[in-house]
């Protein structure tokens, strides 16, 4: 078999049992790999009613057929489970080198069930899988864990994915960190890992350093000529030089960057200080590239003299916005320190910044008293408050104990009024793009299977005039229209579900036909484009059905009141609200779903998902 290794690891932590099985027991042409195949496995094996933090939950680490091959920007892996934040489908992806290394070590993925009595870590080295004692590691942060394991296993090239204290302490938005700063950030996948007493997974394959393709020479020749296409996308140029934060000033112009917890539309003087250009002129040391990436959007930053900011992985756009603009903080140094803290504790920077900004608004509105906060003050823009609160969240101490539950649950504990402005979709905090600036994005947030998600679609590119002919996106979509948004949102959602199955980075903008050619050359398949695009629709619907079996209903496909009813007074999207109802109605229709948002039987049959129908009718 080419592309896939054809070996899955199964670990039962309760019984300390490990065995392996072939991957080709699944129909790989129907699900490809990555999060698509993970959806099939989780649908088959997980009782949707289980408590996400119980031993019964499944935690899946998956790669795809392109992971670790010669294909560009395919250094990713995903973690799929039932989310403790949303109680629904969770998937979170990370780049770097861990995913390819898992395949070099001889496996496509790991299915983890149960809960260990004591802290353990998993080591997978050249085919050999072992569960080892991690008691000594419990309480250490993710960077320390990585370093410790490299020394213990005497291999500096070891790749480690681990949780920090946040995952151990049950912070509901805990992440999994690899390569000292790459994060599977969202949905609390690290919390699930912590609940299983699994501290880390260390992988190493010394025998190979690239997964061979079925048509190696053809692929080589194809790749050599396809780079120009990837690089000719304007964002590739900007990401190379300024990182993802290179879009900060542009997005601010649109009124897209959330300022003061989505209360302000314009903040030019602050934005200029936290932009990618500002970073390049100040704390940037060099670019950082993942496995076989030709863009290198990663930031490697310098340390400062006092030692409060250490040299290493720097913040991305989402983090610059969440710990910056969202909290009205214009200090790049604080953002960089906060970013490192989030990485070390192992918690999502989007949700972390969001709970802090939410708390700042609560504080301003006097919904939380000083004694409640144990001496913390949470004034807008207060850098020390941001850093202190991050520590408190990571340690689940003091007020951090409440914020560690995410905005939805924290609001419930704080005040009825706070629930009105706790910004989330299905329990997942809103990413750093304002749906009032791009209304299709509003529809995307409302319908994303993991809750408010900017990465299953990136539809704002389409609303900035991008065209993708292979997906039927031929015309210029305006950002404020609503009557024509169902089609492009569905098209990009399905497409990105395919990218997440391959698994390929979404910043490598290649036309779907080229991506398919690459997949065919790697696997030796002869898949046609319509068959390929169908995979995305299939996995999207499968995840939808899973969510419905978990209890999700139409009423969960919504946005916070702030976006539906409260326009901004300034900035590039001044006066706009998201008219969701109409978009949603069109969306259900276009998807072949009922008015209640349930996939119709004929749609499921068309997608070879008939096996889901009995569960839907239960």
């Amino acid at each position: 078999m080419f592309g896939h290794i054809n070996k899955l690891i199964r670990v039962n932590l309760t019984k300390s049992r490990i065995f392996t099985e072939n991957l080709d027991r699944y129909d790989l042409k129907e699900y490809i790999g990555g999060s698509g195949l993970a959806a099939k496995i989780i649908f088959d094996e997980l009782d949707p009613s289980v408590d996400p933090l119980s031993p019964e939950n499944i935690l899946l680490f998956m790669t795809g057929p392109l992971t670790g091959t010669a294909s560009p920007s395919c250094g990713r892996y995903c973690v799929c489970t039932k989310s403790p934040l949303t109680g629904l489908w969770a998937e979170s992806h990370a780049a770097g080198f861990w995913g390819p290394e898992l395949k070099f070590s001889g496996y496509d993925g790991i299915i983890i069930k149960g809960r260990s009595d004591t802290p353990v870590y998993l080591s997978i080295i050249d085919g050999k899988i072992e569960l080892r004692n991690a008691s000594k590691l419990w309480g250490t942060d993710t960077y320390q864990t990585e370093e410790y394991l490299k020394n213990e296993l005497e291999d500096q090239s070891l790749k480690v994915a681990s949780i920090g204290q946040a995952g151990e302490n049950g912070v509901l938005f805990a992440s999994i960190i690899n390569d000292s700063g790459r994060a599977a950030g969202r949905c609390g996948v690290g919390t699930v890992m912590g609940s299983k007493n699994l501290k880390a997974i260390a992988v190493r394959g010394t025998k190979i350093n690239v997964i061979p393709a079925a048509k190696n020479e053809m692929l080589k020749e194809f790749l050599r000529r396809i780079y120009v296409t990837i690089r000719s996308h304007p964002t590739a140029q900007i990401y190379s030089s300024y990182g993802t934060d290179g879009i900060m000033t542009m997005m601010h112009e649109y009124g897209d960057v959330p300022i003061k917890y989505f209360n302000k539309g314009s903040w030019t003087e602050g934005i200029e200080k936290i932009s990618g250009e500002a970073m390049a002129k100040s704390i940037l040391k060099k670019q950082w590239a993942c496995y076989r990436c030709i863009i290198a959007c990663g930031r490697h930053i310098t340390g400062n003299e006092s030692g409060t900011r250490k040299e290493g992985s720097g913040p991305e756009y989402e983090t610059c916005a969440s710990l910056g603009a969202l909290c009205l903080n214009d200090d790049l140094n604080i953002i960089a320190i906060g970013n490192e803290l989030c990485n070390r504790y192992g918690m999502d920077t989007i949700s972390s910044g969001s709970v802090i900004a939410f708390a700042m608004e609560c504080y301003e509105k006097r919904l939380i008293s000083k004694e409640n906060m144990e001496g913390l003050t949470l004034k807008w823009g207060d850098g020390d408050a941001i850093i202190n609160t991050l520590h408190q969240i990571g340690k689940t101490k003091g007020f951090g104990k409440i914020l560690a539950k995410g905005v939805k649950r924290a609001a419930k504990e704080i005040d009825k009024e706070a629930e009105e402005f706790a910004l989330h979709v299905k329990g997942l905090e809103i990413p750093m793009h304002d749906p009032r600036a791009f209304k299709g994005l509003g529809l995307q947030y409302a319908t994303s299977h993991r809750g408010a998600c900017h990465l299953r679609g990136l539809v704002y590119h389409i609303e900035q005039g991008e065209r993708v002919p292979d997906l039927g996106i031929h015309k210029r979509y305006e950002r404020f229209t609503t009557d024509d948004k169902a089609f492009p949102v569905i098209a990009v959602q399905n497409w990105h579900d395919i990218m997440d199955s391959l698994i390929m980075c979404k910043f490598a903008f290649l036309p779907p036909a080229s991506v398919l050619s690459m997949l065919n050359m790697v696997t030796g398949w002869d898949m046609k484009l319509d068959e390929f695009l169908k995979v995305g629709e299939r996995t999207y619907n499968l995840k939808r059905v899973f969510n419905i079996t978990c209890g999700a209903t139409k009423s969960d496909d919504t946005l916070p009141k702030r976006f539906l009813e409260e326009p901004l007074n300034d900035g590039g999207s001044k006066g706009q609200i998201v008219e969701l109802e109409l978009m949603l109605k069109n969306y259900y229709e276009e998807r072949g779903w009922t008015e209640r948002g349930i996939p119709k039987e004929e749609k499921l049959e068309e997608l070879d998902l008939s096996f889901t129908i009995p569960r839907l009718n239960r």
Binding site: A70, L219, L223, R224, S232, S240, R292, H461, Q464
Partner: protein, 216 residues
């Protein structure tokens, strides 16, 4: 890391440099003594650069000089191009850049000498060239010029050195070469259009992402 498919092997990489020089010369984008090129394999802290003083269309792969990013010669029988300062300055700043071309493209330079900046007149000019800065004159072959280029190269794939020439960069030589071609094509179009009046630009809403992203 295994760079299979990302890089040409060393032999082919060197040949590609030579082919580029011949191609640029044959199309009048540089003279036999002006212009230079370098390329490296991704991730390497050294590059192959054209030698100084030799007639460029006559170069052989064995004439190329391998230098580290401080300009120290690792391998080669000739002196590296005197412009190694800006070549290495770019490699230090841009992990994603593996090829650099320097030409004296006549139409591009002609417009720059008259301080006419290129506008988004074609789709390629908009997406590939974006904003091409014209850097004030610095003496050729100096560290000062190297620093100036290094300080400007972020976010750019082409720049013009006033009273001197053009620099383009790319992930590989093909990308850098295409950029030289697009630049000269846009310059000729702009030159012709200017005979009759200022050139028409692409309507802004059609290239909104590009204009906003690049601030053009």
């Amino acid at each position: 890391m295994n760079n299979m498919g990302i890089n040409l092997d060393e032999k082919n990489l060197k040949k590609q440099i030579i082919d580029c020089m011949k191609s640029l010369h044959s199309r009048g984008l540089m003279t036999g003594v002006g212009g230079n090129a370098s390329a490296r394999q991704m991730g390497e802290e050294k590059a192959w650069i054209t030698p100084s003083g030799l007639y460029k269309p006559d170069l052989n792969p064995s004439d190329l000089v391998n230098i580290d990013l401080e300009g120290k010669v690792i391998e080669g029988m000739f002196k590296p191009s005197i412009e190694w300062y800006f070549h290495t300055a770019i490699y230090k700043k841009r992990t994603d850049v593996n090829a650099i071309l320097h030409t004296h493209s006549p139409f591009t330079m002609g417009l720059a000498l008259a301080n006419v900046k290129l506008r988004p007149i074609t789709f390629e000019a908009a997406t590939i060239l974006a904003d091409v800065p014209i850097l004030p004159f610095k003496y050729p072959g100096t560290e000062e010029l190297g620093n100036q280029v290094g300080d400007t190269i972020l976010g750019k794939r082409a720049m013009i050195l006033q009273n001197h020439g053009v620099i383009t960069v790319g992930f590989d030589l093909i990308e850098a070469l295409s950029t030289v071609e697009i630049l000269e094509e846009a310059a000729i179009m702009t030159f012709v259009a200017n005979i009759f009046g200022p050139p028409e630009e692409i309507p802004s809403d059609q290239i909104e992402l590009i204009k906003k992203l690049y601030k053009i």
